[in-house]
């Protein structure tokens, strides 16, 4: 966990590509970086004739926060969609925890420990906040045939334990008072928090967050940043797509910059700010 060696690229830059790696990732949390947990190699995604993602390669080390930035239309969310199994890739390879997972559907990747949130928070509106957390726990006895037949005799004890655990998570996010509220009645920021808490109930190894700070007040951004850093310190790896570059700077040890479906630079946020191609992508488009 104390390895500060920068993560080498998985593959050479695409032909004609302009990827340049900045200096060693010395940003926040670099002391937590480990071997690559997620490896994305030459990822391609076409929508009809549109090449939304065009040969993207990067890695997410274990126990670190990696940022994915770029102007609108750069392909960040598409990368997240393909990596998470939400959309099948057109080409390329994805490895997670050393296993090839290219093209696996989202629910199977989630079971392996790669869990995502969505750009617009998706909660189960007809469930309470507490239920939103409980429903995410994998391998519950109540989902087995024996659990269905046996009822509470089989899963009652486990349920009580999970409720206590869910309440602990709610307290951590300061949302204990909302436990019995229907999720559809929560504010946008609270729904976003519910999504993240739901992911945590799955005990993931990698959390993919799509613009987690969008629409949050500055105070909430600070609060959520604190929680995400805590999660990283507990060993969770995070890949964050984010427009708010100050947040990326504070959270991410490695940042991957994209434009026009390609990776244009990789390094710390401080390094990327000085890079001409990144500036051009944001200013010129």
């Amino acid at each position: 966990m104390a390895d500060a060696t920068p993560v080498p690229p998985l593959a050479p830059p695409p032909a004609g590509g302009v990827v340049e790696r900045a200096g060693p990732a010395a940003g926040h949390g670099s002391r937590h970086q480990g071997p690559p947990l997620l490896e994305v190699e030459q990822l391609v995604k076409h929508y009809g004739g549109v090449r939304a993602v065009d040969g993207v390669s990067f890695a997410v080390p274990a126990g670190s926060i990696t940022g994915l930035i770029g102007p609108n239309g750069a392909g960040k969310s598409t990368v997240l969609a393909v990596v998470s199994g939400f959309a099948p890739p057109t080409g390329g390879r994805i490895r997670f925890a050393g296993r090839a997972v290219t093209g696996l559907p989202m629910h199977r990747l989630a079971r392996q420990g790669m869990v995502r949130t969505f750009q617009l928070a998706r909660v189960f509106g007809g469930l309470t906040t507490l239920e939103n957390l409980l429903v995410a726990v994998p391998g519950q006895r109540g989902l087995s045939p024996l659990g269905v037949v046996g009822g509470r005799w089989i899963w009652g004890g486990e349920e009580r334990r999970l409720v206590k655990e869910a309440r602990r998570v709610l307290r951590r996010f300061g949302m204990a008072s909302k436990a019995d509220d229907y999720a559809r009645t929560l504010s946008g920021g609270q729904k976003r928090a519910v999504e993240i808490m739901r992911c945590l109930m799955m005990r993931p190894r990698l959390l993919l967050l799509d613009e987690p700070m969008a629409g949050l007040s500055p105070r909430l951004v600070t609060e959520l940043e604190r929680i995400l850093l805590e999660l990283r310190d507990e060993g969770l790896a995070l890949l964050i797509v984010e427009h708010e570059l100050e947040t990326v700077d504070r959270l991410c040890s490695t940042v991957v910059a994209m434009a026009h479906g390609r990776v244009i630079a990789e390094g710390t946020m401080a390094d990327l700010r000085t890079r001409r191609e990144v500036q051009d992508a944001y200013v010129v488009g």
Binding site: H107, E131, V148, R171, K178, A179, G215
Partner: protein, 312 residues
């Protein structure tokens, strides 16, 4: 379970009822050759009541899964409903056109009440008792599926299937499970119905019958088993059967029956507009709050958090 809890808009539900009814009929009737060519059908085994009902449940489950496979794989929920409606129409057309399968449009008749040996009236009441017992048993079994972790998972899928997939749930498998369980229940109900009324034909399972079932769910309360039971009683017994006791209008024969469907349609629209949650809405679960948790919650609430994020 299918519509209210899992959010599967199965507009072909009447087909699984029909599958159960036909299965029960051909298993309890004797060979078709034994009735002088009066009606043609497959099988004909003279099986006992209980065996035939179980077979009807299995047939309903299989047909339910087959219906599910046609529409569930890659379609959005509203399109799935449309596909299932088409499947319902096709199934009725095929069964009606093939006279050798279940006697075509004329349908099957002479299905006897298994309890009629004790005298016609008492046999009928015995049958009513068996049906009532089946309803109670069915209600208790259904609670196993719609309550607890499985029911919670199904409701999550109903609310947002992408988010359900994101937490590791196979939406396709969950829907097919729902179709299988719902199909088994439908199969049993079809078997019990045909055992009582003695016959079954394509006109008995036209697609509007499914709409009546949906109305019962909408009126009773989606996701509430008690509400749906009451909704079924009100819509099917009081409304659709009740209009048959109205005096016939000589100049417009059949109009009184049509009144039932008119009221049903108006009721559906009214509830969708004015009270979509139904008379008995889905109940909010309450989890036991231990005293130590309450203290910790109170302490956490005093600090900063996301719960007081007004307008966030």
């Amino acid at each position: 379970m299918e519509f209210g809890v899992a959010g599967v808009a199965n507009l072909a539900f009447i087909v699984v009822i029909a599958a159960g009814a036909y299965t029960y009929a051909v298993l309890t009737l004797g060979p078709a050759t034994g009735n002088g060519g009066f009606q043609q059908y497959i099988v004909g085994l003279h099986l006992p009541f209980a065996v035939a009902v179980l077979a009807a449940a299995a047939a309903g489950a299989v047909v339910g899964v087959l219906i599910g496979v046609t529409g569930l794989k890659r379609l959005r929920q509203d399109y799935q409903g449309m596909v299932m409606l088409v499947v319902s129409l096709m199934a009725a057309t095929v069964v009606g056109a093939d006279a050798g399968l279940f006697n075509g449009q004329a349908g099957l008749s002479l299905v006897s009440n298994p309890f009629s040996g004790s005298g016609s009236a008492s046999g009928d009441w015995t049958y009513v008792g068996v049906v009532a017992l089946s309803c109670v048993l069915g209600f208790l079994v259904l609670r196993r599926f719609t309550g607890g972790p499985l029911g919670r998972t199904l409701r999550a899928m109903r609310d947002d299937e992408h988010a359900a997939a994101a937490i590791g749930r196979s939406v396709v498998n969950l829907r097919l499970l729902t179709q299988a369980v719902g199909g088994a229940f439908g199969g049993v109900s079809g078997a019990l119905l045909v055992g009582f009324i003695g016959g079954w034909s394509p006109s008995a399972w036209a697609y509007p019958e499914t709409l009546a079932l949906l109305t019962a769910i909408i009126v009773g309360g989606m996701g509430n088993n008690v509400g749906v039971s009451i909704g079924t009683f009100v819509i099917y017994l009081l409304l659709l059967q009740g209009v048959q006791f109205l005096p016939q209008i000589a100049s417009h024969p059949g109009l009184t029956e049509a009144f039932g469907w008119i009221i049903l349609g108006v009721t559906t629209v009214a509830f969708v507009w004015l009270r979509p949650q139904g008379v008995f809405p889905e109940r909010r679960p309450r989890f036991r709050h231990h005293p130590e948790d309450q203290e910790l919650d109170a302490g956490a609430a005093a600090g900063t958090g996301l719960s007081d994020s007004v307008g966030a």
